[in-house]
Structures are given as structure tokens and as C-alpha cells.
């Protein structure tokens, strides 16, 4: 076997390896994004139950409850862009936090086992959502490194892979950090 042939085989194998590693990283990003979606869906499913459980007690927060129900129906309608969706989800997060804070004024509600279970389920899904976002960012970080670093960046350029944005905490989420501390794990 000639030396040229060996070199050619090595180069081909190297390209295949680089290509596959890029694809694997891109799939990991998509996968992580899908898991965020799954947890968001889980959260949408919990909202009607939450509203049903609290509306008997929360007379003064009617607007808040109507708002969260509307936000949910818009979010699951499907006819929205990605950026709209992110904004809707942020609004839902804020509304849920507001409900959690308002609950403090209703001792009867805090003693209701049905509500407590829902609250636990929501806490769980929020924590899972945050974990999914962190997993997404970790996947994006590894993917972006590959897209920008030599030699994988050459393959990325050829197949048109671009840097993906990170999932960032919104300004309000950063401000709400004190309230969130109440539910820290």
C-alpha cells in the first residue's frame, strides 16, 4: 500500500470523526432543547389544576388567575414564534411566583393537601425546568466550542453549523432571585 493512500485514508477517517463529533454535539443540543419543551408542557398541564385549586380562596387575585390561564392557552396554541414563546414562559414563571407569594395570605389554602401536592409538583417541575436549561446551556457550550475551535470549525464551516445562543435568565428572573431563594433546594 502506498504512503499516499495511507495518508488519504487517515485524512478521511479524521474528517469522518470530526463530522460525527459535531453531529453528536448538535444532537445533544436538540435533545436538551426538547427536554426543556417536555418540562414546559408538564408545567402547562399543571396550571389548570392549580387555578382550580386556588380560585375558591384567592378572591383578590382573580386578575392574576385569569392572566395565567390566558398565558397558558396562548402558549399551547402553537401559532407563536420562538421569541414570543420564551416571553410567554417568562410571564408564566412570574405569575406562578406571584401566586406562590400570594398563598402566604391564605392560611386555609396552605393547609389544603390538594394544593400542597400541586405546589410540590410545581416546585418539582420548576427545578426540573431549571435543570433542563442548565443541561441545554452545557450542551450549547460544548457545541459552540466545537464550532469555533480548530479543527472542527473547518468541518462546521463546510456543513454550515453556526453558533447557538445560550439560554439566559431574563432581567426580571434575576431580580426575582430573593423570592426564588425561598424554594431553594
Amino acid at each position: 500500500m502506498s504512503t499516499e493512500l495511507i495518508i488519504a485514508i487517515v485524512i478521511v477517517l479524521l474528517i469522518v470523526f470530526l463530522f460525527n463529533s459535531l453531529i453528536a454535539r448538535r444532537n445533544a443540543v436538540n435533545n436538551a432543547f426538547a427536554s426543556i419543551d417536555a418540562y414546559l408542557k408538564k408545567r402547562y398541564d399543571l396550571i389548570p389544576n392549580l387555578v382550580a385549586a386556588v380560585q375558591k380562596y384567592m378572591e383578590h387575585e382573580r386578575n392574576l388567575l385569569t392572566e395565567i390561564t390566558e398565558l397558558r392557552s396562548r402558549a399551547i396554541s402553537g401559532n407563536i414564534s420562538d421569541s414570543e414563546r420564551v416571553e410567554l414562559d417568562n410571564k408564566i414563571s412570574r405569575a406562578l411566583t406571584a401566586i406562590n407569594v400570594a398563598v402566604e395570605n391564605y392560611p386555609d389554602l396552605k393547609a389544603n393537601t390538594n394544593f400542597l401536592q400541586l405546589q410540590a409538583a410545581l416546585n418539582e417541575v420548576e427545578e426540573q425546568l431549571s435543570a433542563a436549561r442548565r443541561a441545554y446551556n452545557a450542551a450549547v457550550n460544548s457545541y459552540n466550542n466545537a464550532v469555533q475551535m480548530f479543527p472542527t470549525n473547518l468541518v462546521a464551516l463546510i456543513i454550515g453549523f453556526k453558533v447557538r445562543p445560550f439560554f439566559e435568565a431574563t432581567e426580571t428572573e434575576r431580580q426575582n432571585v430573593n423570592v426564588k431563594n425561598l424554594f431553594n433546594s
Binding site: 436538551a32 409538583a121 427545578e127 431549571s130 435543570a131 433542563a132 443541561a135 452545557a138 431553594n184 433546594s185
Partner: protein, 333 residues
């Protein structure tokens, strides 16, 4: 969790009295111990002398090379059994003292830290749980332990004990060698979140020593699942995490939890290893010396020794608070 100040008061008001009593018992035990040795050595001397004398009477010589020297052989056999009896009796005397100490001192300290915990000096974490934790994968050749503490700390079920694990390895010269797999405290707690996968939080030797190359080899190691690279750089420097699912791993290891584990390693247990399997948290805390054992030939009547026992027990029990395991705001009660 109790403070050192509280323990000092407890020592003065209660423990000191028991230690005083035990000190008297210890001195009496040492006396019995040496009496026992002297008695048996005396018997052995008498037996041997009698053996030689009878030998002389029968064969006309203390030792006759041409015959079997039956009386001497009988005397030697009896001496050996007396010697063995002496050893077993001595260790029995020592063990009585140790058992008394554990019952009166260690149990009292455990109850002082948390009333709802139970202490059994001769029980230990069963081997099945140790295997389930899957932190050490050596083939077990010998497994033993003692000092089991078990019960509920608020909402969290815990149990821990001292454990010693040995395995047999074949050396280069094709000879079997015994390898010490683990010596220390093995801790099991019910974790406060539900999960399905298996997760391992181990000390990061490779990356610490070999940097990027170390990390590359960590990635290539699939025996414990995927390498999970977490966001906290301080945590990443100390630990390597493997597990079945990237998202679930982050659900269990929230930023808060990572910080708490890091503090546990830095402030209390520098060699801590953990695994999360089947809704349980398993923690291995290696210790070089044997724990919770009193001295027989030296006084135990000093504060430092009791404080050491207290610190080890208190630090281990307070893992529940350190890792916030009593916060049950998720679906698991």
C-alpha cells in the same frame, strides 16, 4: 446539630461521671487481664516441668531421642491449649470493657446529638447496600464493621456504620494479595427528590493532576454512564460526576446542592465519595484509623478523646442538614 459548647456542658454534667466509673472498671480489667496471663503462664510452666519430670521417671532422661517422649508431648499439647485459652480469655476480658464503653459512652453521645437515633455497637450496614451504592467495584473478599447508627433525622431516614472492605488481588508474582478497598464510615440516607438514574460524585484525581488530558480520559470512561460537566468551576475542580441523564443529574445537583457538597468536602470530609441510586444517597467517608474504640491500656478519661468521638458522629449526622435533605418541597414526602 449540636455545638462544641453544648457538648462541653454535656461532658461536664453527664459524660464525665460515666467515664470516671469506666476508668475504675478499666483499671480492674487491666488487673484481671494480667492476672489471667500470669495464671495461664504459671499453668504452662507447671505442665512443662511435670512433662519433663515424668519423662525422666519413665525413660530415665528428660528428653530421650530414641523414643516418642509421650509425657512431654502430652505436656506440650496441654500447654498449647492453655496458651490458646489464655488468648481467648484475655480478648474476652478486653471486649467486655469495650462493649461497656460503647454502651455507656458512644450510645450516650449518639442520643445526645439526636434522641431519635439508635445505636447498635455490633451491627453494621449490610453488604448488599454497600454493593448497591456501586462506589467501589472491587470483588469483595471480606466485609465487616460495627457501630451502626440508625433512625430518622426529622424527615430523613439515615443509617451509617464503620465498614471495612477487603478484596483479593493477584500480584505480579502470581500470588494472592489482600487489598484494602475501604475503611471508614458508610452513610445511607433517603434522598429528598425522586429520580430514576444512577449518579456518581467522585473525587476528581485525573483532571486535577493531568488537566485537559485527564478530562479527555474521563469522557472516554463509560463504565458509570456519561460524564456530566457541571457549571460550577469550583465543584468541577474537586469532583467528577458520572450518570445516566444530563438533565436529571442537574435536577439532583442544583447549584445550591453543589455548593453544599463542596462545603462538606472542604470543611469536614476531604475524601468524600457519593452515589445517588434508587432514591437513596450513599456516602463513603474514608478514615484511616478505627473509630469509636476506647483504649484498654490507656486512660479514656480525657475530654479530647470524647470530643473526637462527638465530632465524628456529629459531622456525620449533620450531613442531613448540611445537604438540606429535610427540605421536602417536592413530590417526595
Amino acid at each position: 446539630m449540636k455545638t462544641i459548647e453544648e457538648f462541653k456542658n454535656f461532658f461536664e454534667s453527664s459524660l464525665h461521671f460515666d467515664l470516671n466509673m469506666l476508668e475504675k472498671e478499666r483499671l480492674a480489667t487491666i488487673k484481671r487481664y494480667f492476672q489471667n496471663i500470669l495464671l495461664h503462664i504459671g499453668i504452662i510452666i507447671v505442665l512443662l516441668v511435670t512433662g519433663f519430670l515424668i519423662n525422666k521417671l519413665v525413660y530415665g532422661n528428660y528428653f530421650n531421642e530414641d523414643v516418642y517422649n509421650i509425657p512431654l508431648i502430652v505436656a506440650i499439647v496441654l500447654s498449647i491449649s492453655t496458651f490458646l485459652m489464655m488468648l481467648s480469655r484475655s480478648s474476652k476480658i478486653k471486649n467486655e470493657l469495650i462493649a461497656n464503653f460503647k454502651k455507656r459512652i458512644i450510645e450516650k453521645i449518639v442520643k445526645f446529638i439526636n434522641e431519635s437515633l439508635n445505636y447498635s455497637p455490633y451491627d453494621f450496614i449490610p453488604v448488599e447496600k454497600f454493593m448497591k451504592a456501586d462506589i467501589f467495584r472491587d470483588k469483595i473478599f471480606k466485609y465487616y464493621g460495627d457501630d451502626l447508627v440508625k433512625g430518622k433525622v426529622d424527615k430523613t431516614d439515615i443509617e451509617f456504620s464503620e465498614i471495612h472492605v477487603l478484596s483479593r488481588v493477584r500480584s505480579e508474582e502470581n500470588r494472592d494479595k489482600v487489598k484494602r478497598v475501604f475503611d471508614g464510615i458508610f452513610f445511607v440516607a433517603d434522598f429528598h427528590k425522586n429520580f430514576n438514574g444512577k449518579y456518581y460524585i467522585l473525587p476528581d484525581f485525573a483532571q486535577k493532576r493531568f488537566g485537559g488530558i485527564g478530562k479527555f480520559f474521563q469522557k472516554m470512561n463509560f463504565s458509570r454512564g456519561k460524564l456530566i460537566e457541571l457549571e460550577d468551576p469550583e465543584f468541577e475542580k474537586e469532583f467528577v460526576v458520572y450518570g445516566s441523564d444530563q438533565v436529571e443529574a442537574r435536577y439532583l445537583l442544583s447549584s445550591n446542592m453543589m455548593q453544599r457538597i463542596l462545603n462538606l468536602k472542604r470543611n469536614r470530609f476531604p475524601f468524600v465519595m457519593m452515589s445517588l441510586i434508587d432514591n437513596c444517597l450513599f456516602i463513603a467517608l474514608p478514615f484511616k484509623r478505627r473509630l469509636f474504640e476506647p483504649s484498654v491500656f490507656r486512660s479514656n478519661l480525657n475530654y479530647e478523646k470524647s470530643e473526637y468521638f462527638f465530632n465524628v458522629l456529629n459531622d456525620t449526622i449533620s450531613i442531613v442538614d448540611e445537604l438540606n435533605l429535610n427540605t421536602r418541597i417536592w413530590m417526595k414526602d
